[in-house]
Each structure stands twice: as C-alpha cells, then as structure tokens.
C-alpha cells in the first residue's frame, strides 16, 4: 500500500512538473564581432597596382560596415607581417574575433590577392582564397570575396552579390514624365539602364533565378469609341524583360490595370492585380499557359501582393475594412484564411514580407508623410522604423533579411522634391543613401540569393 501511495505521489509530481509554465524570453541579441581586414603584405607592386590593392581592401571594409550590427570592423596595425599563430594571443587579447590577413602580388592584368581568414577564438584559418583583380572587374570581385568571407564567418549568404532593380524618372525632359527601369549593385554603384519606353514603368519584380524582371508600363492601346471610331487609350500592361537575352515580352494587356505583379517561388507562377472584373482583385497567373485564377474575391479593392519565399502566405493591401489595411492569406485558394494584420494607420501601403515570412514591413501615412513600420506576420509586435526622415515609402527586405531598402522623399520647395533610395538595417538604423542626383527613384527590388 505504501509503495502504491509513493508511486501515485511520484506520478502526480511528474505530472505537475510537466504542467509547469515556461515564460519565453525570446531570441538573444547578438554581440558584435570585432573584425580586422588588415593592410596587405605587398610584393613588388607598381603604383597603379598599389592603388588597386588599396581600393580592393577599402571595398571589403566598406562592405562589412553595412553589417555593423554584426561586425565591428576596425583598422589594426600591431601585427607582424608574418601572420603566424604567434599573433593569435595578441589578437585575442585585443578582443578580435576574426582577422583577415591579405597578401597581394603583381600579375600582368592587375593583382592577385590572397585572403586568409582567421577565427581567433578557434585559432585556425577558416578561409584561404585567392582572386585575380583588374581595374575592370574590381567591384564584382571585391563583392565576391566579401561574400565568401561573410559566409565563412556566419554560415549565411550576404547581400554583397545582390543587385537592386529600381525605377527612376531621371530621363524626364519635358512635362511628360518618363520612368525607366535600372539595375545597380547593392551599394548603389554600377548603375545600368534596362528599358527605354519613354513612358512610365511601374512595380518591378525579379524572377527566382534572377534572369527575368516583370514590370508594368503605361502604353497606348487602340480602342473603339462609343461612335465606333478608333482611338488610342492609355493602358497599364504587364511586361517581362529577360536579363540574359535582353528581350521584352508582353505578358498581359487586358483592358485596365495589369500591374503589381510579383513572382512566386515557381518562376512560372506570378501574382498580379487586375481590374477586369470591375474592381481590383489579385489573381494568380501561369506564365506558360496564361491561365488565371482569382486569389482574392471581394467587392473591396485588393492590391499589392507580396508572397513569402515558400509561397505559403501572401500579404496584400485591401480597403475591405473601410481604410487601406494589411491582410494575409493562403494564396493556394480563393479568399483562404484571410486575416487582417493592421488595425491602425490612416493609410497603409506596400506591405512586404521578410524572407523568412515572419515580418511585414510597410509604409503608413503619419503627419503629412509616410513612415515605415514593421509588424509580425501574426499581427503582433508593431514597431516604427523611421521618423523625421522625409517621407518614406516602398520598403523591401534584402534577400538575407538583414536590411530594408526604401525611398525617401525631401521637399526642397513647392516645385522641387528629391526622392532617393536609402538602406537601413532591420532595426531601422539608416546606413546610407544609395542614389544621389539620379532623379526621383521608386520601387526598389533586390535580386535573390541563388547559392
């Protein structure tokens, strides 16, 4: 009997223990790693080659400053140039976690740079990579080696090899506004013009394999008037630009709005806003078969879809509650699991998912301008990202989820305003201006990380 009672008490205790509540503290904040990208060992370099070597190291250091929430990139001049393990104790003493030792030699085309990345805590070289660099390929090569260093340290891809597609009105010459498509490096360098429509280009989206860009353009379209006479009307058509073949294709030119297209993870499936049924609804379109399927079906206007990387959730903007608010849903079926996410804000716009699908960044009208906010995909944890920084719109997460690129507008006077692209980290710390004196810039989109 005694044993039975003891057993009962034990079972009861175990049961009670298993029922104990746990309060989650949440994810820890990461401490910054001290990173040194050391001045290089140089061997018989000409003055031009020395300049090239210095530029290469400057780009590397500058790249890692973007990740200043993770790395404290410092200059260091205490190391004997031999880079032996004898230095490890000194580096450790100085609180250095990672040390990039570089060695530059001369080549006929430019220089060859060898980088050895030390993990000081573990006391070993975790990357040993060399790259040949010339004046023509300096920046892409620098970004490539930066990405390798970043991956070795964090185990994750960086944005260093990413590009940003955006729209600018810099070619506008007269009253007729022209907006064309451009592409540039993540840091705002090496800008290239992609389209010459002499019209207005809208809402670009990049295919999962980075080879195609979808966008809308305002074009003239022949139509019959009420008196059965031919006339030209403006129509917003959906186009696709192939970055490899440089060819342009019209995807949809249905009467009305064919815009706001965004790729899903399947390069054949896109989501776009159409007004063919009288009001704006979001449709899924198969690019191969051109078959359409209604994703939203509501008398209110549903626009601006953004899809998670796994394609399981879509966020969009709708005025079904009276004002423009953010919603999420499962895009696999019409009106499936529609959930309202935002409940405040006079006018919310451009909701965009983070790559992991856990957060949505959007702009909201506050005090005579737009500011950026971030909210959990479950509607929790609404936070403000910008304030007193012009009018901020069109936010988009970088493919690694660490940054947000957005447009910021400054009114100079009643006739003039500037609008440039800026980059901030995911906590709202503005890191810098990506475009300058490049007309008004709109709708930035990052290319995807492929490997």
């Amino acid at each position: 009997m005694k044993y039975i009672i003891s057993l009962f008490v034990l079972i009861f205790s175990l049961h009670s223990f298993s029922q104990e509540a746990v309060i989650a503290v949440g994810e820890a904040e990461q401490e910054k790693d001290k990173l040194v990208i050391d001045s290089s060992e140089t061997h018989n370099l000409s003055n031009t080659q020395k300049v090239l070597a210095n530029e290469l190291l400057d780009i590397l250091r500058n790249n890692f400053i973007f990740y200043k929430h993770k790395f404290n990139t410092v200059l260091y001049n205490k190391t004997a140039k031999s880079y032996t393990t004898e230095n490890l104790a000194k580096w450790k003493e100085d609180g250095i976690q990672y040390f990039v030792a570089s060695s530059i030699t001369s080549t006929t085309q430019g220089i060859e740079a060898r980088f050895r990345l030390w993990n000081v805590r573990e006391g070993k070289v975790i990357l040993n990579e060399s790259v040949t660099v010339s004046n023509t390929d300096l920046r892409p090569k620098a970004h490539d080696i930066s990405d390798k260093l970043y991956r070795a340290m964090t185990g994750k891809p960086s944005i260093f090899k990413s590009k940003i597609v955006f729209i600018s009105d810099r070619t506008t010459k007269s009253r007729d506004i022209e907006k064309e498509l451009y592409i540039m490096d993540f840091d705002g360098r090496r800008v290239e013009k992609l389209t010459t429509f002499n019209s207005i280009v809208l809402s670009p989206s990049i295919s999962p394999d980075n080879t195609k860009i979808l966008f809308s353009v305002i074009e003239d379209k022949a139509a019959l008037s009420s008196r059965n006479k031919k006339k030209m009307i403006k129509n917003i058509n959906l186009k696709m630009y192939d970055l490899l073949t440089k060819k342009m294709t019209t995807i949809s030119s249905k009467p009305g709005l064919n815009s706001g297209a965004t790729y899903s993870r399947d390069p054949n499936i896109i989501y776009l806003t159409l007004t063919q049924s009288g009001n704006a609804d979001i449709y899924e379109m198969n690019l191969t078969t051109t078959r359409m399927r209604k994703v939203t079906s509501h008398f209110a206007e549903d626009v601006d879809p953004s899809i998670t990387q796994d394609g399981s959730m879509m966020t969009f903007l709708s005025n079904r509650a009276g004002r423009a608010h953010i919603y999420t849903m499962d895009p696999s079926q019409t009106e499936k699991d529609v959930k309202r996410i935002s409940f405040v804000g006079k006018f919310n716009a451009t909701p965009r998912f983070s790559p992991d699908g856990k957060e949505i960044v959007f702009s909201s009208w506050v005090d005579n301008g737009f500011d950026l906010y971030k909210i959990g995909a479950n509607g929790q944890n609404l936070v403000r990202l910008t304030k007193d920084f012009g009018s901020n719109e069109d936010p988009v997460f970088s493919p690694d989820g660490e940054f947000i690129v957005f447009t910021s507008k400054r009114v100079i006077n009643s006739r003039k305003a500037v609008q440039d692209l800026y980059i901030m980290n995911r906590e709202g710390e503005v890191l810098g201006q990506l475009t300058q004196n490049f007309g008004k810039c709109f709708s930035p989109q990052f290319t995807n990380i492929l490997d």
């Binding site: 309060i23 949440g26 405040v344």
Partner: protein
C-alpha cells in the same frame, strides 16, 4: 342543487389551480435566486472573463525602435545601484553546484527606493479589470530626466504606446481567476526586463540552443535563487542566460499573492523559449 355543487367544484378547482400556479411561480423565483446564484455574481464572472481578453492595437507607435533603444541605454545607468553587487558575487560563489545558483536572502541589498513602484503600477494596470484611459502621448513623452529612477517605467509605457491593448468585447479567454490573471500579467512582463540583457556572441547564435532557468523572487522582486532546470549543454550559453537574469534583477515588487507564489514555486524562464 346539482348546479350549485358544480359551481363549488369549479371554484375549488380554480383555487387549487391558482394556488398551484402561484407555488410554481414562487418556486421559480426561489430557485432562480438561491440555486442559480445571484445575478450580480453572474455578471461579475462575465466581467472577469472580459478582463482577460486583449485585442486590437489602438495607436501607431510614436517612437522608433532606435529611439526606444537609446532611451533604454540612457535609462540603464539610472539604477546602477539597483543591481546589488552582492547578488552577482553570491551568484558566482557556489562552485560545488554549478547547476544551482543560490543567492542568500540575507546578502541581498533591499532598498525601498529601488522597488520601482511605477513599474509595479504598470503591472497592476495590466491585471486590473478596467482598462485605464490611454495616456496622452505628450504625457508619455520622455524629458531630459529620462535617466531618473522613473526611466524604465517611462520606456515601458513608450513601448506599449501604439502596441497598447484594450479589453475586448468578445467573451473568450480561459483566465477566470483574478489572482491567476495578476500572476500571468506579472510573469509575462518579466521577459521584457530580461531580454535587454540577453546577449550572445555570434558563434552561439542560431545554434538552436535552449536552456530553461527557474527563478525564485522574494516579496521585493529580488532574486532568491536561480536554478537551471534544463541546460543547453553549452556552459557559455547557460551562463549568459543566468547573467541576463541577474542583470535584470531586481524585478518589480510583486503583489502579496504573486510574491508568495514566486518565492515558493518560482517561474521558469525559457531562453529563448
């Protein structure tokens, strides 16, 4: 004669019927009053349930993440003496039992002015049944004196600003006891304090590590002891979690009931869950 007899029968039947109906009515009233309980109690139950419901965000945040961080940084030096040095020393002392981090109660420096009464008020407002009127943003706006002792309370108010929740109208929620609601509100506010100090070096990030620490608090919100109930298996990770709790202490003074429960049974904090 027959009709007179019939009249009497009808009268008798009518009286019996009237009496029976009256009795039934009385029974219904009495049963309603005594067996089903007073109507005030029923409405009280509904109120309690209502108070457990939290719904819509009612305002956009006024301050940015960066501003709130900066305020938190500025507020931190306001209470350096609020972290009793003895706690940290005592906490690191017992080397024989690395899994249990005991702090002697007598070692604790308990100062009344460090009770953070303002934060307690905030917690009380959480658990109160009526939602208090939203403070005007101007009132909540920090001044240069944010580094005063009220710094944390101001910041907590600011964090709530825009993310504020209000009592809902839908009768949902499973909290039916006022005490459990108060306890729940108190412990749910604890991670906010701990998270500020919860930091890891990069090599411990994204390792899927998890540890759980049971925290016992006394009536003043000071740490009595901490106990690792589930280790991550990595000493550095566990010690960082312990350090976060110690750096967050003292916690706001809990109410008597909540304090008794926390001192006796403690509460488990999950790092990260």
């Amino acid at each position: 004669m027959l009709s007179a007899h019939l009249d009497q029968d009808i009268k008798k039947s009518f009286l019996i019927s009237f009496g029976a109906h009256l009795l039934l009515l009385l029974s219904a009233v009495l049963v309603t009053k005594f067996l089903m309980g007073p109507s005030t109690k029923r409405s009280l139950e509904i109120e309690i349930i209502q108070s457990s419901v939290r719904v819509d965000v009612v305002g956009m945040p006024k301050f940015t993440v960066q501003e709130l961080r900066e305020m938190q940084k500025n507020a931190a030096p306001a209470e350096p003496d609020a972290k009793p040095v003895e706690v940290a020393k005592a906490a690191e002392a017992p080397k024989e039992e690395p899994k249990e981090d005991v702090i002697k109660e007598g070692d604790l420096v308990i100062e009344k002015e460090k009770k953070q009464a303002d934060f307690t008020n905030l917690l009380s407002s959480y658990s109160s049944q009526k939602v208090k009127k939203k403070e005007s943003p101007r009132a909540a706006r920090p001044t240069n004196t944010v580094v005063s002792g009220k710094g944390n309370q101001i910041i907590d108010n600011l964090i709530l600003e825009g993310n504020k929740v209000s009592a809902g109208s839908a009768l949902v929620g499973d909290i039916t006891s006022e005490t459990s609601s108060e306890f729940s509100a108190y412990v749910q506010a604890m991670p906010e304090k701990v998270r500020v100090h919860w930091k890891l070096p990069s090599y411990l990030m994204n390792q899927n590590l998890k540890c759980r620490i049971k925290v016992y608090l006394n009536a003043n919100g000071n740490l009595i002891k901490t106990e690792i109930v589930e280790s991550s298996g990595v000493e550095e990770f566990d010690s960082r979690a312990l350090r976060a709790i110690k750096d967050a202490a003292p916690f706001p003074a809990p109410s008597k009931d909540v304090g008794t429960r926390l001192a006796t049974y403690g509460i488990i904090l999950g790092f990260p869950i």
